[in-house]
């Protein structure tokens, strides 16, 4: 769908405008939406709403699909072995079929996640306690390594040596846990 304002760029934002109970759809590209933003976005009395999350995702998808189709034809047949969800279908519904889909589509997913999550593709939050033994150690090591850099920069070499030893011992543990990373 083309932006109804400039008739040039693809419309990536969809608004629903409700005036006197009558609904009108408004389709804009990001740039025009920003230009118009002040007028459109939130005149609370005329009641605009922005279906950001879903519409945002679903409208990124077609643009993304076009690019992919010309580049890598194999995405056409890419299919999750666990739930049989195809990449094409995922693009259409914007929902995965099972947890394994994330693994199946991981290469295709990165640009999409970047768009949705302000450039981020990696989890930095909570790790489930009972499945995350190795992950917890790895995160701890990452944290200590960054602490180590700070210590060295601050010329606190004694503390730095302590942290270095701690990292070594954790790395040993990590190797022991080896394959069992849940």
């Amino acid at each position: 769908m083309v932006c109804q304002e400039c008739n040039e760029r693809p419309a990536t934002l969809h608004f629903t405008k409700v005036i006197n109970g009558e609904k009108t759809e408004v389709h804009l590209c990001e740039q025009c939406a920003q230009d118009k933003g002040e007028m459109f976005m939130f005149d609370s009395s005329s009641g605009f709403s922005v279906n950001n999350l879903l519409a945002g995702l679903l409208n990124i998808a077609p643009a993304f699909k076009q690019a992919k189709e010309t580049e890598i034809p194999k995405t056409e047949v890419l299919q999750c072995e666990k739930c049989k969800m195809t990449f094409q279908r995922f693009i259409n519904v914007g929902r995965f079929g099972c947890a394994h889909c994330y693994e199946t589509f991981k290469d295709e997913l990165t640009p999409l996640l970047k768009r949705v999550h302000s450039g981020n593709v990696e989890h930095h939050g909570k790790v489930p306690e009972r499945m995350g033994g190795a992950i917890h150690i790895k995160k701890k090591i990452q944290q200590l390594k960054s602490d180590l850099q700070t210590m060295i920069a601050d010329e606190e070499f004694e503390k730095a040596a302590e942290i270095r030893d701690e990292i070594r011992s954790l790395e040993k543990d990590a190797n022991k846990e080896g394959g069992d990373k849940g």
């Binding site: 007028m39 609370s44 709403s49 995965f96 989890h123 930095h124």
Partner: protein, 360 residues
């Protein structure tokens, strides 16, 4: 039937407590989305899988530790459409779950501050609600419940993507933190439409009161995080908090400016709205919301002293279509609702004024 108690009162008991910054922030909410590893997501799962998910949650519920509070188990297929609408208006279930007639369920705490939805878009969605600005507290509570679930179930998780959710917009922390704000000052001074693009730039979303796809009723806006990847749960909450605090400051200055520059106009607007609420015989939900917003502002600014702030929280919910019909004991046509709404508001305001009189 145990469902009744969740339907009777418009105000959940958690709402009766006054939270920090409650002149502007009505409530804080945190939601965590989780899926079990052994089942397909709601997009594809069979009725058997859906049923088993609900059964498992129900079975484990008997082990749910008392210190997290008692939970009532309510399968959605046993809830009437009108009752679902009421639960939705109280934000205890999502519109998505309200439509479910299959194997969805909701677990509710008696204070209604915890709502755990089963087979919504994700297998499990843990929601905690707090009055005022208490996002950290809500996150802590949700985490406790999540920790308990995690000791009983294997949740879909991978090291790179975090918690795996049905929709990629929730992946990572699965966390949606949101704050409901009453912002009449920023709307009246026409600052909000300038602020919203800036808020969007920070990865936050602003919506009207009844969530996605709904318009802003009564100057109430919900602000929430859009990004769930790349930041820890604490950082997401911290970032949202800092923006909300800035908005609170801006709303305060807008109210101050209004009082200074257009006191008499403001006072006129507020008391006209009070007049409409006290004397009209037919009132549409939109007008009711606008007047309630004005009167609430009047109370916050000290113009109106005989009505409690709580009555407005209550009326905002009580005057929604689902609640009105529940209250009247049956379906109402739109014009009947407008009449019923108006008489309900008059009664409630009168009751509040009478109590105020007696206390004097």
């Amino acid at each position: 039937m145990s469902l009744e108690k969740f339907l009777q009162n418009a105000v959940s008991s958690w709402m009766n407590e006054e939270g920090p910054n409650s002149d502007i922030v009505l409530s804080s909410r945190v939601r965590l989305a989780r899926n079990m590893t052994d089942f397909r997501f709601s997009t594809l799962y069979s009725s058997e899988e859906a049923k088993e998910i609900v059964d498992r949650v129900k079975d484990k519920l008997s082990l749910y530790p008392g210190n997290l509070g008692e939970l009532e188990f309510l399968p959605t297929r046993e809830i009437q459409p009108l009752q679902k609408r009421v639960l939705m208006e109280k934000h205890l279930i999502s519109p998505n779950l309200a439509e479910d007639t299959n194997y969805g369920a909701v677990l509710l705490s008696s204070e209604e501050d915890i709502s755990i939805m089963v087979n919504e878009e994700d297998h499990i969605r843990i929601q905690c609600l707090y009055p005022g600005l208490q996002l950290k507290e809500a996150l802590q509570r949700a985490n406790q419940i999540d920790d308990w679930f995690e000791s009983e179930f294997d949740f879909a998780f991978d090291e790179k993507h975090g918690y795996l959710t049905t929709c990629p917009t929730n992946v990572g922390t699965g966390l949606r933190a949101s704050v409901m704000m009453h912002l009449p000052g920023l709307v009246l001074t026409q600052q909000l439409n300038r602020i919203i693009p800036a808020i969007n730039q920070l990865g936050l979303v602003v919506r009207g009161i009844y969530g996605e796809g709904s318009e802003a009723l009564g100057n109430i806006f919900q602000i929430s995080n859009q990004t769930t990847l790349g930041k820890s749960e604490e950082d997401i909450v911290e970032d949202l908090l800092s923006v909300v605090k800035q908005i609170i400051d801006k709303e305060h200055s807008a109210r101050d400016a209004l009082v200074k520059t257009s006191n008499i106009q403001l006072e006129d607007r507020i008391f006209r709205s009070l007049g409409v609420l006290e004397h009209s015989r037919i009132i549409e939900s939109k007008e009711a919301a606008k007047c309630l917003s004005d009167v609430r502002l009047g109370i916050d600014l000290g113009y109106i002293k005989v009505i409690s702030k709580n009555i407005l929280n209550e009326l905002m919910i009580l005057t929604q279509p689902g609640f009105l019909q529940q209250y009247s004991g049956g379906p109402l046509r739109p014009n009947e609702r407008d009449i019923r709404r108006s008489s309900l508001i008059r009664e409630r305001i009168k009751l509040d004024k009478d109590t105020c009189e007696e206390e004097k």
